[in-house]
């Protein structure tokens, strides 16, 4: 099965990572710890020492999944991580949806009106230089003050908006390039049919933009995940997997392997999003020639 090849490579790469982790923590890291002079150049330690606290065994991490989340609690770590990951996934999906909507909307306006493109583009670029951490607390203060159509602004709204804020940019840029990609003769053809601007957009520019939207969606998907996970921590949204990392980290000395369960949750979250985008691409480009723009 040729199509499954990337999957096998992915699994092999993951296995290699586990092996390297184990080899380092078991032998190299501890050995370095006993021999201070090795691995140092001009007195700087280049290779990190490791300990049980910094690099817990992979087996211990897996064991953690089965343990109760807190002593005496009925929910296991696995259930807690799963629930938090699912929660973050729905938020990231909402962020991606909102980001796509805004990104495509902005791109349509920019493609339609050259003035908008010239005026708006610098602000779009600037918007992406604002650190998310700086924006997050600001959006939280909107809570309780902003009500849109009877809809209350809550902490999860902040996470979604911040995820969307990161993801709309690649979509806006990709969509704009795509909308402007048709050949001049194709545009003339639509003009010769006396097609309206909207008809030309719907029948020509939008489908022509699809190959440009695929890589944009891939970037936007990971941006949405990143935005949501980071803003969970900044806005104090306690039920997502980002916040779970922070709270498990509090037990770094007593249960050092526990935090890695939440980290794995974010990895799964990222993979889920990538798989979803890939599936969407496969569906929408099913009738397209196989070679397209990369």
């Amino acid at each position: 099965m040729r199509r499954l090849r990337p999957l096998w490579f992915g699994i092999a790469a993951f296995a290699l990572l586990v092996v390297m982790w184990e080899v380092y923590r078991r032998w190299i890291g501890e050995w370095l710890d006993t021999r201070r002079e090795v691995g140092s150049v001009l007195g700087f330690k280049l290779l990190p020492r490791s300990s049980e606290l910094a690099m817990p065994a992979v087996g211990d991490m897996l064991d953690e999944f089965g343990k109760p989340e807190v002593r005496g609690s009925g929910t296991s770590v696995f259930e807690a991580v799963l629930a938090a990951t699912f929660r973050s996934f729905t938020l990231a999906l909402a962020a991606l949806a909102l980001g796509s909507l805004v990104g495509i909307g902005v791109a349509v306006l920019m493609a339609r009106f050259k003035v908008v493109q010239r005026g708006l583009m610098p602000y779009l670029v600037i918007s992406q230089t604002i650190p998310l951490i700086a924006l997050a607390p600001l959006t939280v203060t909107w809570g309780g003050e902003i009500t849109i159509f009877g809809f209350e602004w809550e902490k999860w709204t902040s996470a979604v908006v911040l995820g969307a804020f990161l993801s709309f940019f690649p979509i806006a840029v990709g969509a704009l390039r795509g909308f402007n990609s048709p050949a001049a003769s194709s545009i003339e053809l639509m003009d010769s049919y006396a097609a309206s601007w909207f008809q030309t957009w719907r029948k020509l520019r939008l489908p022509a933009a699809l190959p440009y939207l695929t890589p944009a969606m891939r970037l936007a998907g990971s941006a949405a995940v990143f935005g949501v996970v980071v803003s969970e921590i900044s806005v104090g949204l306690t039920d997502g997997v980002g916040y779970l990392i922070l709270s498990y980290l509090q037990e770094g000395t007593s249960r050092p392997a526990k935090v890695f369960t939440a980290v794995m949750g974010t990895v799964v979250l990222g993979l889920l999003m990538a798989a979803l985008v890939a599936a969407g691409d496969r569906y929408f480009s099913r009738n397209r020639p196989k070679e397209g723009i990369a």
Binding site: A183, S185, S186, E188, L189, D191, S192, Y193, A194, A195, Q199, K203, L204, P207, A208, L210, N287, R288, P289
Partner: protein, 267 residues
């Protein structure tokens, strides 16, 4: 059908008027095309033949003079879809099946699905690709794609077909075959054609009249009446009359090139 398909009186087109990069693309063009006639525009690059085609199509506005298409202002003719258009690149939409590509102009006119389907099939039969309706454009050869582009241009049964070097990207054999096919299609449908080309034999083989143009500024220098009759086939290409007309067009082009050499570099 008593209206002239195209009637140009003193038509001129100036790009970037009043600016340093002003270009006189066309000056003082007088041309009439009768219904059912096949007229080719030929000339070196920059002679304004594509500009003239785009003026007729209302993709550009005339600067001076009067232009009527099917007895109407070009804008009205475009709004009424009185003409179909085909370009050098077939320009089929790769995300649409062959049938859906042919249906595009009908969709824009708001035809219902059953009517569109029937017409697309009729057009597929006209261009002799009746079974390729469900194929995707990339599965077709260059010549087949160009046939579909012609089918698309004629789908709404416009009385006038405007073609901008439609066979320019095809190999010689396919090209001659497509020329014969185009004559057959136009004969069957009674379509008027204005055809832009670089090729002298192509212009002579296809046309009732060949309009020879020259650059700097773009204008019509000669109009050659071909007069080889309506019925033309591969044997036509080997008759003396065919060669005589090729020579006549070539000399008209050469004459215009000498005349056009004033003030511009000619390569």
């Amino acid at each position: 059908m008593s209206e002239l398909a195209v009637q140009a009186t003193g038509v001129g087109k100036v790009f970037n008027a009043g600016r340093p990069n002003q270009v006189d693309a066309l000056t003082d063009v007088d041309l009439t095309v009768a219904p059912g006639e096949f007229v080719s525009l030929i000339g070196p690059s920059g002679c304004g033949k594509s500009t003239l085609l785009r003026l007729i199509a209302d993709l550009l506005d005339t600067t001076t003079g009067e232009l009527r298409v099917n007895g109407k202002a070009p804008r009205q003719a475009r709004l009424d879809q009185d003409y179909g258009m085909a370009f050098q690149q077939a320009g089929l939409f790769e995300w649409r099946s062959v049938s859906k590509n042919i249906e595009l102009p009908l969709e824009l006119k708001g035809w219902d699905k059953a009517k569109r389907r029937a017409r697309a099939q009729e057009m597929l039969e006209l261009v002799k690709l009746p079974d390729r309706g469900d194929a995707m454009p990339w599965q077709l050869s260059g010549g087949q794609q160009q046939r579909i582009a012609i089918a698309r241009a004629l789908a709404a049964h416009p009385p006038l077909l405007l073609m901008d070097e439609p066979f320019g990207a095809l190999d010689e054999m396919t090209r001659e075959h497509m020329q014969a096919e185009l004559l057959r299609i136009c004969g069957e449908t009674g379509t008027t054609v204005v055809f832009v080309t670089h090729s002298i034999p192509e212009a002579v083989y296809l046309s009732d009249r060949v309009v020879v143009m020259s650059p700097g500024p773009g204008r019509i220098t000669h109009i050659v009446d071909v007069g080889l009759g309506r019925h033309r086939d591969d044997d036509t290409r080997e008759t003396d009359g065919f060669y005589d007309k090729i020579t006549e067009v070539r000399e008209a082009l050469r004459g215009s090139r000498v005349a056009g050499a004033r003030g511009i570099e000619d390569r």
